[in-house]
Amino acid sequence: MATRRTFLKLTAAASLAAPSIASAQASGRVVVVGGGFGGATAARTLKALEPKLTVTLVEPNPVFTACPFSNNVLAALREISQQQFGYDGVQKTGVLLAQTAATAVDASGKTVTLGDGSKLPYDRLVLSPGIDINWGALPGYDEAAAEKMPHAWKAGAQTVLLRQQLQAMDDGGLVVISSPANPFRCPPGPYERASLIAYWLKIWKPKSKLLILDSKDTFSKQRLFQNAWAQLYPGLIEWVSLSQGGKVTAVDPASLTVVTDFARHKAAVANIIPPQKAGTIAQKAGVADRTGWCPVEPVAFESTLQPAIHVLGDSAIMGGMPKSAFAANAQAKVCAAAIVELLAGRKPVDPILINTCYSLVSPDYGISVAGVYRPDKGVLADIPGAGGTSPLEVVGGFRGQEALYASSWFKTITTEVFG
């Protein structure tokens, strides 16, 4: 016993002393803000690639609620608890967890201010705060309005609220989904949501209708979605494009009215997916530009506005890559490897990244879009000839197979990031 105790003490001493001894290897302090698919992946990948780094993940919520598959919760195909993941697995990898909000960043002094006022110094900072709702961009839509007309674009209480409203709705009611202009989190998400709500309405409230009011003329996987709607939910879903007058210009939460330039739609349930911007801490750190999003270089995703701050995931402008959980995870692994190189005084090599997004049109009907990306002329650009959507015409169990791939992907990524 005595021997073992001595050994443990020495191991602790060794790990404390290690950074000064191993001067040839990367050492240093990396702070990661935001414990979603991007931030949690970045933190644990940094620690895996270079165990001598001190990596602190700053995240106020003890539990993460995942957006992918949260549309299944709306359709009562899953429970919200199946979307939730704690940070024990991340901490077991040696990542330090600061369970508090990051309230400010001093880019020149290289510190992050935490909720209790203390300052956390860093050599490199990773910001992966996800989106914030751009309150004020849509007249009538504020935080109080979101309690009447949920956005459900950050999974959690909003998701549960929208599901409760759907369940309380009388058969024959009108469900309105407002879809924003680009860019926004999860480009196919509003249309997967429409699909799965339609799936549920068809079974439980078959006299109801679903109206999508869109601020765009085209959307992700459009023909695949529209073909599937005609086949699975004929007459149930109506999509109004921008040029048909679909842009929502105001909402009235008291009367559940959704207003466009041409009509006022009285909804039984209104799901307003509003304009978005990078998470607040990105604005405070000075890494967001006038668009509200964060420009980065395409190799290590370092901000082009502030040195030593890297931005990942939904909050960053990633060229051709969409704002998806798969993309955030892929970017985080590339960013972590690049930071290890930079801290060791080496130049990171040009990466290649993949994105794959599955959408469910029904529980056993999946469609996908994929892309492969590399740095080109200062941005992450699509590699020509690669990527694209599922074929329009398929035989056999193709759509069912893609639905299975979708759920396998979710199990895989949540285990890799939080397990």
Partner: protein, 99 residues
């Protein structure tokens, strides 16, 4: 005093035999693959594991996905983003990962 002299030697020894071994990031593209083809074992996943598979098998699959000789859902679209050299490097890296 004796303890202080001994410590650096022990520290050196511990570093050499450290149980926490750094993993390597892999060649360009490899880390994205693990978004679906995980390092960990995932119960009830229909996505095949590729860690520890023979490099020549991975190369053959990727080339056949790319050409369309082997039908696929998403892999054909992804494989078209990689040239032979990049596929060889990724295959060698996955082959060296624990099965």
């Amino acid at each position: 005093m004796r303890h202080r002299l001994l410590l650096p030697v022990l520290v050196g020894a511990l570093l050499l035999t450290s149980p926490v071994r750094a993993v390597d990031a892999g060649p360009p593209g490899a880390s994205s693959c693990t978004g679906c083809h995980a390092a960990k074992r995932i119960p009830d996943s229909v996505i095949p594991r590729i860690a520890g598979r023979k490099a020549s098998d991975i190369v053959q699959f990727m080339r056949e996905y790319r050409s369309g000789a082997w039908p696929s859902s998403v892999m054909g679209r992804i494989a078209k983003g990689f040239d032979d050299q990049q596929i060889d490097a990724i295959a060698a890296w996955f082959a060296a990962q624990p099965e």
